[in-house]
């Protein structure tokens, strides 16, 4: 991977600022609702499941498995893999699988978070564990 893609910097907003501030320290955060106990992603201030405002940041281990993926071949910047990854904590999130042989990806494969730099906060991606 000599020709690294340039990723856009997150815009961020007051609701998600903590997520991006933690990303700068290499921490991957999810949100958990203290009222219903459910974790969610991407982070909201009000729980999308029970609508409680008692949501708290929680550091995720950043580990999970590929739920599904697709290798996008028709791309001016070269092939890339979009995927859904189910975190150990429960939530499934949309991402890219990077730094690997895209032809070897499999549903159920274990992956872990890896941050990539931007002109702003780093972005979380996933790579085979």
């Amino acid at each position: 991977m000599t020709d690294k893609p340039k990723y856009p910097a997150p815009v961020t907003n007051p609701e998600t600022a903590q997520f991006w501030d933690s990303a700068k320290q290499g921490k991957f955060l999810i949100k958990r609702c203290k009222a219903c106990g459910e974790p969610h992603y991407f982070p909201r201030s009000i729980c999308p499941f029970c609508f409680s405002d008692k949501t708290e940041w929680e550091e995720s281990k950043g580990e999970g498995v590929i739920y599904s993926y697709s290798v996008m071949r028709k791309s001016p910047t070269g092939p890339y893999a979009t995927a859904y990854v189910t975190l150990n904590e429960g939530p499934t999130l949309f991402t890219n699988i990077v730094d690997c042989d895209l032809a070897s990806l499999k549903i159920g494969q274990r992956v872990k978070v890896v941050f990539k730099p931007t002109d702003g906060a780093p972005l979380p991606f996933f790579t085979p564990a």
Partner: protein, 383 residues
């Protein structure tokens, strides 16, 4: 309160163009509106309800002024991508049933082949999705990949959807792709985004379409065959905070049963189906969600020509659909309504006309099936 039998589709028009460098997008909206009103035997002075979506240049007040619709009592610009127009059909029926309008016009038009597509509008998910390059191809690819994983669906099974579309398109002089293709042609075409091949994807075309919805009284005063709406449903589905994500079903699991229940029928009663075919996998998942077969058996259901009119058990998209005929502004909703009305009127091409076609389903999704989308289902009946 129900919309059952309270609204009729009196006019339809599909623009014959598939490439329109010599026309403006607004002009295409006007041309399809004019065509549908003439088909109905009405004039634009009769229109008192207008429905358009994200493809309408500027939005609904700009378009209604441009079109000279000066008697509007009801305006609705619900934007749900390619199924906006099927949702509009239900909303028009609701407005008509409530006495809020009596002649509703629905338009769609655009020129993705000859002009830039408007940028995708992102919401609060922007920082958590945009950088990863979601496109229609990979969003639907992820659905197909999981459907194959969970149910053993194959590329050959998906290919049958395209084969059926091509069999119908050969009889449509306006279709973009009129060559009949084989399963081998589809699976040997290049992969665009795994596991979807180029021939698993619909066409990109300029064009448009329009529909006129009206009261039973007005419809019966006109000279066209009578087609009425007997049931309608709409729903949405997204990643839902990441909880229990399942890409193998769509919001059609809610919109479909709602529409069938309102109409008081079951999928077994349906003679013809217009189902949005943005990709082959879209059709397989929708057939399952609507109840034409069990979840996971859609691949088997579409195989062996089962969607080909005169051959299989469910005649489907007899105009060639989005896969072969037309996909104006990357939105397939309105052409699905139009071909269903042709079938119910007995005005489809004789080679694909379903005999005694008196009951049809129109169904579509909008947005990205693998990310967030809406779905809408309508049941139409010839009176």
């Amino acid at each position: 309160m129900t919309i059952k039998n309270k609204a009729y589709i009196a006019g339809i028009y599909e623009h014959p163009t598939r490439h329109a460098p010599d026309k403006s997008t607004a002009q295409l909206h006007a041309e399809v509106a004019k065509g549908a009103l003439e088909d109905a035997g009405l004039t634009h002075a009769d229109v008192d309800g207008y429905f358009c979506a994200g493809d309408a240049p500027g939005g609904i007040w700009q378009m209604s002024d441009y079109l000279g619709l000066n008697k509007l009592r009801h305006l609705d610009s619900t934007e749900t991508g390619g199924c906006s127009y099927i949702i509009a059909l239900g909303h028009a029926a609701e407005a008509i049933a409530a006495g809020k309008c009596s002649v509703a016009l629905i338009t769609l038009a655009g020129k993705p082949r000859t002009g830039p597509m408007p940028p995708r509008a992102y919401g609060p998910e922007i920082d958590f999705e945009m950088a990863y390059g979601p496109t229609t191809h990979n969003a639907y690819g992820m659905c197909a990949m999981r459907h194959m994983h969970d149910f053993g669906t194959t590329s050959e099974q998906l290919a049958w959807v395209k084969v059926a579309a091509s069999h119908h398109a050969q009889y449509n002089p306006h279709a973009m792709l009129r060559d009949v293709v084989t399963v081998e042609d589809v699976v040997n075409s290049p992969i665009i985004s795994d596991p979807l091949h180029r021939l698993d994807c619909c066409v990109v075309s300029d064009g448009g379409g329009a529909v006129i919805v009206t009261t039973p009284e007005i419809a019966k005063s006109l000279k066209r065959p009578l087609v009425r709406l007997t049931g309608h449903g709409e729903a949405q589905k997204g990643p839902n905070g990441g909880r229990k994500l399942d890409l193998t079903y769509s919001a059609g699991v809610w919109s479909g049963p709602a529409a069938f229940a309102e109409a008081g029928i079951t999928p077994k009663d349906i003679k013809y189906a217009s189902i949005y075919d943005s990709f082959t996998i879209t059709v397989v998942i929708q057939l399952e969600d609507l109840g034409f077969c069990k979840k996971g058996e859609g691949g088997k259901f579409v195989s062996d020509g089962n969607l080909i009119s005169g051959v299989g058990k469910l005649p489907w998209n007899t105009d060639g659909g989005g896969l072969c005929n037309n996909h104006p502004i990357n939105r397939g909703g309105i052409t699905k309504i139009i071909e269903a009305v042709r079938q119910l009127r007995g005005e489809a091409h004789p080679k694909v006309q379903v005999p005694n076609c008196d009951l049809a389903v129109v169904h579509g999704t909008g947005g990205l099936l693998g990310i967030r989308h809406a779905a809408s289902t309508a049941i139409l009946e010839r009176v």
